[in-house]
C-alpha cells in the first residue's frame, strides 16, 4: 500500500499536490485576497513569488530557444506555452499593482510600525520609503518649507486627529470556508457566532474575517 493512501485514510485533508499546482493555487489565492482585502496583506514568506518569478524567467528563455527552429504552423506547443505565460504574467502583475496601490494610498501608515513594515517585500519597502521621501520633499519645496517649523511634520496628531490616514478594517468582505470553523461576526444590533462548514460563503467585517483567513480556515473571494 502506498504511504499516501495510508496518510489519506488517517487524515482525509492530507493530499499530495505537485509543487507547480500548489504554487498556482497559492498565487491565485494571494491575488484574489489582495484584490479583495481593504488592507495590505503580508508578502508570502515562503518565497512563492521569488519561485514563480524564477519559473517565468526560465519559461521565457525556453520560448526563445524554441522559436528559432520551428515551423510556425505546427508549433502548437509554443502557442500553449506562450498563452499560459501571459496568464501567469498577468496574475503576478495584477497582484503586485494591487499591493502598490494600497501602499501608495496609505504609505505613512504602512511605514509606521515594524509589524506593518513587515508585510512589505524588501523591494516594496524600498519603494515606499523612497516614495514617501519624494512626497515630503515635494511638499517642502512647494509650501511646507515656508511654514513655521512646528507645523512642518506630516505625522502630527495635534487636536486628537492623526494626519496619517488608515485603511478601513471594518469594511465588509466575502469569505469562503476552507475548513469547518466557528465564525464570529460583530453587527450593529447583535454579535453572531456560528459553526460553519467547508464551502460556506459568508459576508462579514474584514476585522472579523482576518483571524480565519490568517489561520487558513477561510479565504477571501
Amino acid at each position: 500500500m502506498d504511504i499516501d493512501d495510508i496518510l489519506q485514510e488517517v487524515d482525509p485533508s492530507f493530499h499530495t499536490i505537485p509543487q507547480e499546482k500548489r504554487d498556482l493555487q497559492e498565487l491565485t489565492r494571494a491575488w484574489v485576497a489582495e484584490r479583495s482585502a481593504p488592507e495590505l496583506l503580508p508578502w508570502p514568506a515562503d518565497g512563492l513569488f521569488e519561485r514563480i518569478n524564477g519559473s517565468i524567467k526560465r519559461q521565457i528563455e525556453k520560448v526563445e530557444e524554441m522559436t528559432g527552429d520551428m515551423d510556425p504552423k505546427t508549433n502548437f506547443a509554443l502557442i500553449v506555452i506562450q498563452t499560459e505565460l501571459e496568464r501567469f504574467k498577468y496574475l503576478v502583475r495584477s497582484y503586485l499593482r494591487a499591493r502598490i496601490a494600497k501602499i501608495d494610498k496609505h504609505t505613512l501608515h504602512y511605514l509606521s510600525t515594524d509589524e506593518l513594515r513587515g508585510r512589505l517585500s524588501d523591494m516594496e519597502l524600498a519603494y515606499a520609503t523612497r516614495h514617501q521621501a519624494l512626497l515630503h520633499n515635494h511638499y517642502l519645496s512647494s509650501f511646507l518649507a515656508s511654514f513655521p517649523p512646528a507645523l512642518q511634520n506630516l505625522n502630527d496628531t495635534a487636536g486628537g486627529i492623526s494626519m496619517i490616514e488608515t485603511p478601513d478594517l471594518e469594511s465588509a468582505v466575502f469569505i469562503r470556508l476552507l475548513k469547518n470553523a466557528l465564525v464570529e461576526g460583530r453587527g450593529v444590533d447583535t454579535d453572531d457566532a456560528t459553526n460553519m462548514q467547508v464551502n460556506d460563503i459568508v459576508i462579514l467585517r474584514w476585522s472579523d474575517a482576518k483571524p480565519l483567513v490568517e489561520a487558513g480556515s477561510a479565504e477571501l473571494i
Binding site: 493530499h15 498556482l24 496601490a101 462579514l204
Partner: protein, 263 residues
C-alpha cells in the same frame, strides 16, 4: 494610480479565474505532454479522455484538435433539477454547492508519491478542485464558476454541449437563462434583507463567482452603510454589554441607590 480598480474581482477577472477550471476533452490528435508553469499536461491520444484547464481545452477546440465533454451538471436534466430545487424546494436559498471532493488528485493516480510530502498543507479550492467541471463532476450541483464555464463552453464548444441526450445548445441556453434569473432575484432579496440587517454574519452558501462580481459593490456598500449609520448605536450597545459583564455588584449598587432616591 497603480491599480484603478475597485476592491474585489470584477467580471473579466472572475472569467479569467474560471478558465483555470479543469474540463474533460476527447483529443482528435496526438499531443505530447507540455511542461507548463502550472505543471505538465497529460499526453493526449486520439479518443483517450484527459482533463485540462478550460483555457487550454478551448485552445484545442478552436484548432479542432479536441472536443470537450460537457460537465454532467450542464445537462438539461440536471439544470432542470437545479431549477426545480431553486424554485420549489427552497425558494429562498441558493441550491447547495457540490459536495466537498475527495482530497486525492484523480488526475494523477500513482504519481502522488513522487512529490515532497512535507509541505502538503495547501487546501485546494475553486477553480482548482479536481472535478468541478470535468466529466466526473456530480450532476445536480452548480460549482462556484458555473456560469462563466457554461458561457465559455456554449460560446466555443456549443456543438459538443448539444448532442448528449438529444439536447440542443439552444435548450441549454434557455435553461441557463432561467437559472440566472431565479438566482438574480435571490441575490436582490438578499441585498434588500441586508438593509435592515443588524447581525454580524450573513451566509450566501451556494452563490457563484459571477453573481458575486455582479452585486459585490452594491451588497458590500449596503453592509458598510448599515455599519456606519449604526455606529453610534453599536458603540452604546457594546458599552452597555461591557458594563453588564464588568460585574453585577456594581450594577446592583446602582439599582439600590436609584431605588433609594425613588423612595
Amino acid at each position: 494610480m497603480a491599480l484603478p480598480l475597485p476592491p474585489g474581482l470584477n467580471h473579466s477577472e472572475a472569467a479569467f479565474l474560471a478558465e483555470m477550471e479543469l474540463v474533460t476533452v476527447v483529443p482528435r490528435q496526438r499531443l505530447e505532454s507540455i511542461e507548463l508553469l502550472g505543471g505538465k499536461t497529460p499526453p493526449l491520444r486520439p479518443l483517450h479522455r484527459a482533463d485540462l484547464p478550460l483555457w487550454l481545452a478551448l485552445l484545442l477546440k478552436k484548432q479542432r484538435r479536441a472536443n470537450i465533454v460537457p460537465p454532467p451538471w450542464l445537462h438539461p436534466s440536471s439544470l432542470a433539477e437545479i431549477i426545480h430545487r431553486e424554485t420549489k424546494e427552497d425558494p429562498s436559498a441558493f441550491s447547495p454547492p457540490p459536495p466537498a471532493p475527495s482530497r486525492a488528485d484523480p488526475a494523477r493516480p500513482g504519481h502522488a508519491h513522487q512529490y515532497d510530502t512535507t509541505t502538503t498543507t495547501t487546501i485546494l479550492s475553486p477553480p482548482f478542485l479536481p472535478s468541478s467541471c470535468t466529466a466526473a463532476a456530480p450532476a445536480g450541483y452548480l460549482p462556484y464558476h458555473w456560469l462563466e464555464v457554461a458561457e465559455q463552453l456554449l460560446a466555443h464548444a456549443g456543438d459538443d454541449m448539444a448532442g448528449l441526450g438529444g439536447a440542443s445548445a439552444g435548450e441549454i441556453r434557455g435553461l441557463l437563462r432561467d437559472l440566472v434569473e431565479v438566482r438574480a432575484a435571490k441575490m436582490r432579496s438578499s441585498a434588500a434583507a441586508l438593509e435592515g440587517f443588524g447581525g454580524g454574519l450573513m451566509s450566501l452558501r451556494g452563490v457563484g463567482a459571477m453573481e458575486l462580481a455582479e452585486s459585490r459593490g452594491f451588497v458590500l456598500g449596503v453592509v458598510d452603510g448599515v455599519r456606519k449609520i449604526g455606529a453610534g448605536a453599536e458603540a452604546a450597545r457594546r458599552e452597555r454589554e461591557e458594563e453588564e459583564m464588568a460585574g453585577p455588584g456594581l450594577g446592583l449598587e446602582d439599582d439600590e441607590s436609584d431605588e433609594e432616591m425613588g423612595i
